[in-house]
């Protein structure tokens, strides 16, 4: 399917779009996210979007620009700089049947809300015997800019993936960004939805209709037989580039895009390793206790017998 393909750059995409069937729309990751929000705001009255500065001209890297004009300040609004309290407010609204999307400019501001996310959002369904649930999407952004320093350049996905009750989603393509965001809004659980700022300009095929991409399912972006690279988010593109380079040396790489970190698609990873016998994990976060460690542990647990020595 054309939309499962990863386009490394605009040129690559343009070449592909000439070949592609007529009627397939090319769209950026940024616009895909904005369209998902727009369509869900249109479709479902319980959806609302809140976040610091989401109504300003920049509009969260262009993903929320002018949504407040289209849907009114009751449903798309700026908030005080009060992350923890505002997370609680969103959780409360979610408990009462709303579907809030809380937007943060950076994942680095989420540590402010850890109490509400971990002790409240993640626990509420389980701790009360499944009688209530928290349909909350927390969108946040990773990836550095210029000299952003240590408080503005983190990749904290593993922190959230550690917590039962949370789901962690990291789309790499425009198609997945839209489909996974819609799936997240409809999921009924607290979702940490992580975007990489270097992906906003990525172009890919994005259908106009409302559709979902299943949470918890990875995808093979490139088939290969010698080694598996399990990659997240922006690293999927790096993995594809590496695969192209290695191809010249006769090494045939299989690239698995994890897409969701929690729940992790263990089957797709193990199936791939079964075939290749070798595994590399490429994540944007830190190694220790990170996603890489988790994927490797999963393989050690479930597919070690397929390990091939070099």
């Amino acid at each position: 399917m054309p939309w499962t393909k990863v386009y490394l750059d605009k040129e690559d995409f343009e070449k592909a779009s000439k070949l592609a069937d007529q009627g397939l729309r090319g769209f950026t990751y940024r616009d895909a996210i904005k369209e998902a929000l727009t369509q869900m705001l249109e479709k479902d009255e319980s959806v609302f979007v809140m976040g610091e500065g989401i109504d300003d001209p920049g509009g969260t890297f262009g993903t929320t620009t002018n949504l407040h004009k289209k849907f009114g300040a009751e449903r798309v609004f700026d908030i005080p700089i009060a992350e923890n309290g505002m997370t609680g407010v969103a959780i409360g609204a979610a408990l009462a049947g709303m579907k809030p999307v809380f937007v943060h400019m950076r994942v680095d501001f989420l540590p402010m809300c850890m109490d509400q996310i971990i002790n409240h959002a993640a626990k509420w369904h389980y701790m009360f015997g499944g009688k209530v649930n928290v349909p909350l999407v927390i969108r946040s952004i990773i990836g550095r800019g210029w000299g952003s320093a240590a408080q503005h350049s983190q990749s904290l996905q593993a922190l959230f993936a550690h917590i039962p009750g949370l789901k962690v989603v990291m789309p790499s393509t425009p198609y997945d960004a839209k489909g996974l965001l819609i799936a997240s809004i409809e999921d009924g659980n607290p979702i940490i939805f992580i975007e990489h700022r270097w992906l906003y300009e990525q172009i890919g095929h994005v259908p106009e209709k409302i559709y979902t991409v299943p949470i918890g399912k990875g995808i093979v972006r490139k088939e290969g037989k010698d080694v598996t690279i399990a990659a997240t988010s922006f690293m999927v593109y790096e993995a594809m580039k590496a695969a192209a380079v290695l191809e010249k040396d006769g090494i045939n790489v299989e690239v698995v895009d994890l897409r969701t970190l929690k729940p992790l698609d263990e089957d797709i990873i193990c199936e791939s390793v079964k075939k290749t016998g070798r595994l590399i994990v490429a994540d944007t976060g830190w190694k220790t206790c990170g996603i890489g460690a988790e994927v490797v542990a999963t393989v050690a647990e479930k597919a070690l017998k397929y390990h091939r020595r070099c």
């Binding site: 500065g53 210029w146 320093a149 408080q151």
Partner: protein
């Protein structure tokens, strides 16, 4: 609406007036230097300029001793310059060099200068307010007579840390001065979109902290209120809160203005530019004959030279080695 400086019935000497001026001027010229060099794109870090807000840093820090503590934010350049940091080492930090204050790992948002009482600045809104309460707690325990000052913006008054810090500082009567730079904006959000009223000092009052709301562009007013607050702290009488109303001239981040992008009305900026804290005070001290035109020009020339040296020091200093990436993770 100009500024009328009240120096009568104060102990403000001529020398002090000149110090106020030269501190503000240094900050202004420091920021303007960044604007000048930034297009070269070799200063690879975000810069949050404080042009228009210089009187606050100057008025507060001139009341502090070298060993007194300050904590600040992403918009910290003015505070560090006023506290006595070396502009050369600041520039080196902004250029990401190992000679910089944070060995090139902080950039402009993260200054540290322990010798001058700066134990770090945080780019997390509200992040450093409790740290200032903590140094004040340490001073109270050690009875070292130091005062701590926390600089933060209007946006920080929305954070939990603000309220938790004020509550504890008041409860324990800690030697801390809270300095809120109310420039009415947090990035591009006007304060009325974030707070039900804009009298931030009122919030502090409810914690029984002596609080004032003043013109933050009036360096004499800032100096006088800070003097009282610092005296109160040193005398063991607890915290004070100073809300300084001011305005930033440039965009939230970077060297450009932002009204062209529709972030705020140009007329609003014009009103505040007419109330320039540096120029208005310059006119005042010239008229007052506290300084001669010649001395003033000399002062500007000296700062300009210091800044040229600072930039070339920053540019020519070595970058950190690759292996330093993994250094200083643990003490």
């Amino acid at each position: 609406m100009t500024i009328s400086y009240q120096v009568e019935n104060t102990n403000i000497t001529n020398e002090l007036l000149i110090q106020m001026y030269s501190t503000m001027l240094k900050i202004r010229m420091f920021e303007e230097k960044i604007i000048e060099v930034y297009p070269v794109q070799d200063m690879q870090c975000p810069v949050h300029l404080c042009i228009g807000e210089e009187a606050i840093a100057a008025g507060v820090c001139l009341n502090l001793k070298k060993e007194d503590y300050i904590f600040s934010t992403h918009r910290n350049h003015g505070h560090c310059v006023a506290k006595g940091s070396d502009m050369k080492l600041m520039m080196a930090e902004f250029y990401g060099k190992k000679t910089g204050y944070s060995k090139g790992k902080g950039g402009s948002m993260h200054m540290v200068d322990p010798e001058n009482g700066i134990l770090g600045t945080s780019a997390i809104v509200g992040g450093a307010i409790p740290l200032a309460v903590g140094t004040a707690l340490a001073s109270a325990m050690k009875k070292d007579g130091r005062v701590s000052a926390a600089f933060f913006g209007d946006g920080a008054a929305e954070e939990g840390t603000f309220h938790e810090s004020l509550n504890f500082a008041s409860l324990k009567k800690l030697p801390v001065v809270f300095v809120c730079e109310n420039n009415f904006y947090a990035t591009n959000s006007y304060i009325s979109a974030r707070q039900p009223h804009n009298d931030i000092a009122k919030k502090a009052e409810s914690y029984l902290i002596p609080s004032v709301q003043i013109d933050g562009n009036d360096v004499v007013a800032v100096y006088e209120e800070a003097r009282k607050a610092v005296e109160r702290a040193r005398a063991g009488k607890g915290p004070s809160f100073i809300e300084c109303r001011t305005y930033r001239w440039k965009g939230h981040v970077g060297p450009d203005c932002d009204y062209e992008k529709g972030c705020r009305p140009k007329e609003e900026l014009d009103v505040w530019m007419d109330r320039c804290p540096v120029k208005t005070f310059e006119d005042f001290i010239l008229k007052n004959k506290s300084i001669s035109e010649k001395e003033l020009q000399q002062l500007k020339a000296n700062i300009a030279k210091e800044l040229d040296n600072a930039v070339s020091y920053g540019r020519t200093s070595p970058l950190p080695d690759d292996k330093e990436l993994f250094e200083d993770v643990y003490a």
